[in-house]
Amino acid sequence: MSTKKLAIIATKGTLDWGYPPFILASTAAALGYEVQIFFTFYGLQLLRKSLNHLKVTSIGNPGMPMPMPMPVLLQALPGMQSMMTVMMKQKMKSKGVASLEDLRSLCAEADVKMIGCQMTVDLFGFSPSDFIPEIEMGGAATFFEFAGESDICLFM
């Protein structure tokens, strides 16, 4: 049986949307898949050395469960986003959900290949030292080299 392959494009740079790529990549690796994740645009935030800056927001996200009903304009007040992020992190910890840093390290340990999009790195003016050392840089053609042979390909 040849090794199955999973290719993921990660485009979101929020605390909540950081989970799907790392959860699916680490699990697929545990199941024996060869996995690559291509991080582009805001997804690059998931490759920063520290992930402490990632936030959740309820703005533009009416599906987010709130502890109490709150008008949107109130949600936009200064400090609300940080408060929601703190609450979300506490909730995750209390429910035994891994931190993003932990899941990312588990991915790296399991040889999940993480590729940063060179174009968006240049666009946003990042420097290679902003990112964890485990990553490689590449472009769309690099992604297709693996994705074209993949069994599952996901855009997140």
Binding site: I23, S26, T27, A30, L31, G32, K95, G96, V97, A98
Partner: protein
Amino acid sequence: MANCDKELDARGLNCPLPILRTKKALNDLTGGQTLRVVATDPGAVKDFQAFAKQTGNELVESGEANGEFTFVLRKKA
């Protein structure tokens, strides 16, 4: 319950940690050896069946008592 070669306490951990820790624990075993995992994540029941099916490690035993789920896996030879 039969004696196992290794025990893994995955209580309090949520998806996908029980599976990831299990995979890691199996790496320390040789083919035919057994691993007992205790978990509290209800999603683990289906996940362990799926893990066994896809990796070829046999799910020898699966049970539930007092909100804890126990799985015994035999590593693929």
